[in-house]
């Protein structure tokens, strides 16, 4: 296993970095309560994924990875728009609300 850690910069490094960013984003999503910060953590995760895709596109010499990244960005943009609109709509009513306060839909 140690032999796998080489000193040449191959795609594994990028993938490891992406994994780390993803993990940090996931943890952040679970820990933070402010809806906007939670959103940002989601963005972190999406970026990690984008990085992974581009890495693979380079490694496999396939432009499909980049196409996916393109679409991910578009969809992320749309998602942020709608999500922030939702946050605005909620926060306007109950100011200072965080994610834990919006828990009406419980069993």
């Amino acid at each position: 296993m140690l032999a796998a850690i080489q000193l040449t910069l191959d795609e594994t490094w990028y993938l490891v970095l992406a994994a780390m960013i993803f993990a940090i984003g996931a943890t952040g999503l679970l820990v933070r309560r402010n809806p906007l910060v939670m959103f940002m953590c989601v963005e972190l995760m999406l970026n990690a994924v984008n990085l992974t895709f581009v890495t693979f596109a380079k490694a496999l010499n396939d432009v499909g990875g980049q196409v996916v990244v393109f679409f991910v960005m578009v969809v992320a943009a749309a998602e942020v728009v709608v999500g922030l609109a939702l946050v605005v709509a909620i926060m306007r009513r109950r100011q200072g609300a965080d994610a834990d306060d919006i828990s009406l839909m419980r069993g």
Binding site: A19, I24, T27, L30, V31, N34, N50, L60, Q66, L84
Partner: protein, 231 residues
């Protein structure tokens, strides 16, 4: 090679620093700025990988539009108050979150490093990235032939998102939900006055989170600053 390594390491540090900043900093504006740092780092890494077009898109759309949108909302709603990171209302959430994060990280790394084939999949013969053809040309070709259907759909998606956002963020006519909080009915000015009073009242209380780490030292100052801007 060494240049690449150097570039990679610096960008990696920036990315990771930004990521940690997003998660750990208390002021939402700081979080947003950390996010910008990460996005920038990722854009650099895109360039290093030869995805120039995507790097540009990353900066323009992500860092330039999305984060700005975030900042707009932060400012609009006055949520620049710091979150009370000291306490955690759901029992065990933090511990479980850390465990989950570590698990995800550990497993991913195991999968990446210990596997026999670290990069799975065969090289694609269908859509090769030629060194000769610039990536943007390649991307355009594929996008408008193989993936044109998805492309058009995303256009619809964006339209729908915009319409949805407009509808959602509209102030609805009529009295607010909490009619016992606002018994007089719709008086946005009334609401604004309440809001201002609440801000003024919390201004001193909100900044003094008791056992938060030292990061929040400029916290009170930042709060006061934004108050003045909003007021």
């Amino acid at each position: 090679m060494r240049v690449e390594m150097f570039v990679f390491l610096v960008s990696a540090c920036v990315c990771l620093g930004g990521a940690l900043g997003v998660v750990l900093l208390r002021n939402p504006v700081h979080n947003a700025l950390s996010l910008v740092a990460t996005l920038f780092g990722v854009a650099v890494l895109f360039v290093a990988q030869g995805a120039y077009f995507l790097a540009a898109i990353q900066v323009i759309v992500y860092a330039g539009a999305i984060v700005v949108l975030f900042l707009f909302v932060i400012m609009l709603l006055g949520v620049d108050r710091a979150e009370r990171l000291g306490m955690e209302p759901i029992a065990g959430q933090r511990v479980a979150a850390v465990i989950a994060g570590v698990a995800i990280l550990g497993l991913s790394l195991t999968a990446l490093l210990a596997g026999a084939q670290r990069v799975t999949g065969a090289e694609s013969s269908l859509a090769p990235l030629d060194p000769g053809v610039p990536d943007i040309n390649r991307l355009g070709q594929v996008l408008f032939t193989d993936y044109v259907w998805a492309f058009e759909i995303t256009a619809v998606l964006l339209t729908v998102a915009v319409v949805g956002a407009v509808v959602l963020a509209r102030r609805s006519p009529g009295p607010p939900i909490d009619t016992d909080e606002f018994p007089d009915g719709t008086v946005p000015d009334h609401w604004e006055a309440e809001y201002d009073a609440a801000i003024a009242g919390d201004g001193t209380g909100g900044g003094s989170a008791v056992d938060a780490p030292a990061i929040d030292a400029p916290e009170a100052v930042a709060t006061a600053d934004t108050e003045e801007v909003a007021g």
